[in-house]
């Protein structure tokens, strides 16, 4: 993708998200309470085609690659968009790995058109011990899903869930209609006012298998890698915006008869944040490169290490920037009305999803050791 095309996509996404980017905390709270506006989601598909960025042109998408989609995720983070783009993109990526099944053509087309909201339902981090829901073949030969997941993004506004479950000794992907009997979705109170999360439980829900064995592995890799990269890109986007707003503010706010942006303490703090932001951007580039270098089942140590770097750094740095942004705004930055805390909340939320409990560092070190086993 040429630089011009990248810029055009970025501008299209930014202009499409323009309105959301100004939402206050109250607007976000209100929007989360009253459910999701499907007509504007549909509009996003029709006017900018964002949902179909990575979906093949045959099913109504733009047929662009992972890097292109990450440009959009970065804009989503920048605008603090609260819709289900993050998860829907992962489902689209997974289904794109399985276009030999005609059922998926329809799903992809519906996603690209903005008519279907489906999000992945799997544990947030690939860690052991894992607790997955389980699918059992009933006496009447029906596949039935049972189990629960504590925290799934956007489940409460999804039409369908792509659930990773244990099935006959392996992992497999299942398609679950959220209106099916036995599906219970309970919205959770969240720190991030711009992100919906739910706990989800299944009690003998009849399901349809989407992918098993090797096909499931490729799809799982697509979702896991995509999740990490999308959240990391969001972090870069929101951190970029938070820093811009901060720099703008310190250029106009005066104390002690001078612009606070002329105090060295403030200048150096902004410079530190800028260096951090460049590091986060590099981490994202590094991870994207690793994934793009042909790692279909997500097991190459090089790609695992790269992803771990992005997971460790993008969230942490975005949080640092958002935290310092509140601080540099002074008292006003600590008010509900000022938007500074929205970045802070989303940054910590994304960070917690990206590297929840320090496991990425372990994964990174073991991947590096695996790269150098021979030496």
């Amino acid at each position: 993708m040429e630089a011009d095309d990248r810029r055009a996509l970025r501008d299209a996404a930014r202009s499409c998200l323009k309105e959301y980017a100004e939402w206050t905390a109250d607007q976000h709270v209100e929007s989360t309470k009253t459910g999701f506006d499907r007509s504007r989601w549909k509009l996003m598909a029709e006017q900018a085609g964002l949902q179909g960025v990575r979906i093949d042109e045959r099913w109504g998408g733009a047929g662009l690659g992972l890097s292109a989609e990450l440009i959009v995720h970065e804009e989503m983070g920048r605008a603090l968009y609260s819709g289900p783009y993050f998860g829907v993109a992962q489902v689209a990526a997974a289904l794109s790995e399985m276009t030999d099944d005609p059922a998926n053509h329809e799903r992809l087309a519906a996603i690209a058109a903005g008519d279907l909201i489906a999000v992945p339902a799997l544990p947030i981090e690939e860690t052991f011990p894992l607790e997955y829901p389980e699918v059992i073949r009933s006496d009447s030969n029906v596949l039935e899903l049972s189990g629960s997941l504590p925290c799934i993004v956007d489940a409460q506004i999804a039409d369908a869930l792509l659930v990773l479950a244990d099935f006959e000794g392996f992992h497999a992907f299942f398609w679950v209609d959220t209106t099916a009997p036995g599906v219970q979705i309970s919205p959770l109170e969240t720190v991030d006012l711009t992100r919906r999360m739910s706990s989800v439980s299944f009690d003998r829900v009849p399901v349809e298998v989407v992918a098993q064995q090797d096909r499931a592995r490729a799809a799982v890799a697509a979702v896991r890698q995509g999740t990490a990269l999308a959240l990391s890109a969001e972090c870069v986007g929101l951190a970029t915006r938070a820093l811009e707003l901060t720099v703008e503010y310190v250029k106009v706010r005066s104390q002690f008869g001078q612009l606070i942006g002329s105090f060295q303490a403030v200048k150096h703090s902004c410079a530190d944040l800028f260096v951090g932001l460049e590091a986060a951007r590099s981490a994202l580039v590094l991870a994207t490169r690793g994934v793009e270098t042909n790692d279909m089942i997500g097991r190459r140590p090089e790609s695992l290490a790269g992803l771990a770097v992005a997971r460790m750094y993008c969230g942490r740095i975005a949080f640092d920037i958002a935290n310092e942004s509140i601080h540099l705004h002074g008292g006003i930055g600590f008010t509900w009305e000022h938007r500074a805390h929205l970045y802070y909340r989303r940054a910590k939320s994304n960070q917690s999803l990206l590297d929840s409990t320090g496991r990425q560092a372990r994964l990174l070190t073991s991947s590096v050791l695996a790269m150098h086993q021979a030496t």
């Binding site: 947030i124 981090e125 504590p150 925290c151 959770l188 109170e189 969240t190 720190v191 991030d192 999360m197 706990s199 005066s254 104390q255 002690f256 008869g257 001078q258 105090f263 303490a265 403030v266 935290n323 509140i326 601080h327 002074g330 008292g331 006003i332 930055g333 600590f334 008010t335 509900w336 009305e337 805390h341 802070y344 909340r345 910590k348 939320s349 960070q351 917690s352 999803l353 929840s356 409990t357 320090g358």
Partner: protein
């Protein structure tokens, strides 16, 4: 209240224990437990969005009982309602109180630690008689009316004016970051009585009755969702000259007293801001099994060390009157708070950002959301560092139109 005759430390201790033990349970803080009782991480009312009216009513009930038992203002002069004992007596009662689950009267912090001491030092006899016993009895809640939207760290640039009108003053302007202003009866008000641009030389201090016509208090919602702070609009508010505290245009001196009280309060009260954060982290790690991870052990060790160092520093510098305890301890505290948040996040993962209903997990988000305010309120980190650099280390003032030392902080 009639003066109580001098009392030995031993007798006072017995008295205090009897008072507290009859009313409240022994404090269970300090244990390494997980899963029992409240899982609040930050002090009641401070940042949690509780209704302040309810909080104040409960705190008042407690404060009256304490006052009537002679345990509220132990070292205060008897003529203004104090018990007339020594500061050592007062510290003893405070220490004994920490052993019981007494309500944390954060609504009285400004009243007792900031305004009352200022009145005691700078007030007229009439002012002392009118306010001190009421403040200590909890009948009068005080607020501070110092900062303005355009005068945060740079308090000396404030614009709210008081102009003389016979025996009265007419005050107009806007104040901000006033804790408890909408439940307060009395405000300590800093205004400009000199010409614009007179900076710290043209300020005066008044004690203002908060029910005076023309005062409009509007709660300011914080990031935490609570409405602890307020904006206060003053529109041609008429106050008598007798409400003035200190001489005309000498308000800065009084503000300095107030602010140095404020900073040491903020430093002293760190235990009130967080409830046993480190022991809770240990307990959480032990309950989840994360304690077996050596890297977690390392983080917990840092937490414990930080907390002990903060406490030791507070008591060390507090004992040495030549040191500036407030700034050092406040910087340590804000840094510790950031560190605890990261350790909690490491132990909790997504459970800190989504309420799964599990005990002692999502409650850490209270600390996450309130932490940034502590780096701003009571003088930003940057102001504290300037204070240390200039007053302790003797480094030159910043090169700027006006220097920082004389006009220090006040930002909330």
């Amino acid at each position: 209240m009639t003066p109580i005759p001098a009392t030995s430390l031993e007798d006072l201790a017995t008295e205090a224990h009897a008072f507290f033990s009859a009313r409240v349970p022994v404090r269970v803080r300090g244990g390494m437990t997980h899963g029992d009782g409240s899982d609040d991480i930050i002090g009641v009312g401070l940042d949690k969005g509780d209704s302040e009216e309810v909080e104040v009513e409960q705190a008042r009930e407690w404060q009256r009982a304490l006052f009537d038992a002679g345990l509220a203002w132990v070292d205060g002069p008897t003529e203004f309602g104090g018990r007339g004992l020594s500061p050592e007596h007062a510290r003893l009662v405070d220490e004994i109180a920490t052993g019981y689950a007494v309500p944390t009267p954060s609504c009285f912090m400004v009243s007792h630690e900031i305004v009352a001491p200022t009145i005691l030092v700078h007030g007229t006899l009439e002012q002392k008689e009118a306010y001190l016993s009421g403040i200590w009895r909890g009948d009068i809640v005080c607020c501070q009316l110092f900062s303005e939207p355009e005068a945060g760290s740079d308090l000396a640039s404030l614009r709210t004016t008081a102009r003389r009108d016979g025996d009265d003053w007419i005050v107009s302007g806007q104040k901000v970051w006033s804790s408890y202003a909408h439940v307060a009866q009395l405000g300590e008000l800093l205004v400009r009585t000199g010409p614009p641009g007179s900076r710290h030389r043209g300020l005066s201090t008044f004690l203002i009755d908060m029910s005076t016509p023309g005062i409009d208090v509007r709660p300011l919602r914080q990031v935490t969702g609570s409405e602890h702070f307020n904006e206060v609009f003053l529109d041609e508010v008429r106050i008598p000259d007798s409400a003035r505290i200190g001489a005309v245009d000498s308000g800065w001196t009084i503000a300095l007293t107030t602010m140095s009280n404020e900073r040491s309060v903020l430093a002293d009260e760190h235990n009130g801001i967080m409830i046993d954060p480190v022991l809770r982290l240990f307990a959480l790690a032990r309950a989840s099994g994360a304690i077996d991870d050596p890297a977690v052990q390392d983080l917990l060790a840092e937490c414990w060390a930080r907390e002990q160092i903060l406490r030791t520093t507070g008591s060390r510098l507090g004992a040495d009157e030549t040191s500036p305890p407030g700034s050092v301890v406040k910087l340590m505290m804000t840094s510790d708070m950031q560190f605890y948040i990261e350790v909690a996040n490491r132990l909790l993962g997504y459970r800190m950002i989504a309420d799964t209903g599990e005990w002692g997990t999502f409650s850490w988000s209270q600390l996450l959301l309130s932490a940034p305010s502590h780096r701003i309120a009571g003088g930003t980190d940057e102001i504290q560092k300037n204070i240390i650099a200039e007053r302790v280390l003797g480094l030159p003032r910043d090169v700027r139109p006006s220097a920082i030392t004389e006009e220090r902080h006040g930002s909330r």
